[in-house]
């Protein structure tokens, strides 16, 4: 039952965030890269002020799968690394924490491009 309730929350929160992105696309005509950067920085700020972990507790993947989750990981990595390693952490932390995702996206996209050819639209 608890899992089921969680799934409902994930669906609704994830969906609402995407509606927000869609509204930005329709109303402001911002380019897609800009909208991604805006949500990313929102995630960074939410993590930096310590709010994100409560959001994650509330709706799990509803917050971590949208790009704000990526921003949160970047900030979280930097904070953890600074606390552990000090000075160098602010350079390494964000990249370290998100390295697995960046590595995966690079490898899989590369392979996908080697295997498949552009589809005519």
């Amino acid at each position: 039952m608890e899992t089921f309730l969680m799934y409902i929350k994930v669906f609704i929160i994830g969906g609402l965030l995407c509606v927000l992105a869609e509204i930005l696309i329709i109303k402001t005509k911002l380019t897609s890269a800009r909208i991604l950067v805006i949500f990313l920085i929102v995630g960074v700020i939410l993590e930096a002020i310590g709010v994100f972990k409560y959001l994650k507790e509330f709706a799990g993947a509803g917050f971590t799968v949208p790009i704000i989750g990526f921003g949160s990981s970047l900030a979280k990595g930097a904070i953890e690394a600074v606390n552990k390693e000090g000075f160098l952490g602010m350079f390494s932390g964000g990249i370290f924490k998100t390295a697995a995702g960046l590595g995966a996206v690079t490898v899989f996209s590369y392979l996908s491009a080697l295997i498949f050819s552009p589809k005519s639209k």
């Binding site: 994930v10 509606v19 950067v37 990526f70 552009p118």
Partner: protein, 160 residues
């Protein structure tokens, strides 16, 4: 007839551009706003739900910690996106989903894999590799920069 002077010319240009934009607005197909919002909602919701299911599976099947299970779930979503982009299915999802497929990590992965596939014809190094992060680059650059700033703030706070 007098040739229009600089200012007049600019004025005429402005009027003409306005007319043109209005015309484009008039003839371009409109997806009704409510419908596109609804599509963004359910497609975005389903993608996040899939992420949560993958997270729970990774956590229960391999008894992983939350952090690692979350990373695995994201990597799985990235893999699915790269595959769907390759076989041309993701384009269709993105067409209906709009913000729904584009805000989750799938949009980020799709931006990279579609650029890679598209520019493959210009060569592996100067096409595929150099255009790899064309769209996703701003996210990575600004992400690293802002994580540095957060780290710097926490470092300074930690000094006192």
């Amino acid at each position: 007839m007098d040739m229009p002077t600089g200012d007049q010319f600019k004025q005429q240009n402005k009027v003409r551009n306005k007319k043109y934009t209005d015309y484009v607005e008039l003839v371009s197909p409109k997806q009704t706003t409510w419908k596109s919002l609804l599509n963004a909602f359910w497609i975005g919701g389903v993608i996040c739900l899939l992420g949560q299911v993958l997270f729970d599976l990774a956590k229960i099947l391999f008894s992983l910690s939350d952090d690692i299970a979350q990373t695995i779930a994201l990597i799985a979503l990235i893999f699915i996106t790269a595959l769907l982009t390759g076989i041309g299915v993701f384009d269709k999802i993105a067409y209906y989903g709009g913000g729904g497929s584009f805000l989750p990590i799938t949009g980020f992965a799709n931006a990279i894999s579609s650029a890679a596939i598209e520019f493959k014809s210009e060569g592996i190094i100067f096409g595929l590799s150099s255009k790899f992060y064309t769209i996703a680059g701003p996210v990575i650059v600004n992400g690293i920069l802002s994580s540095f700033i957060v780290g710097l703030i926490y470092y300074i706070i930690g000094l006192f």
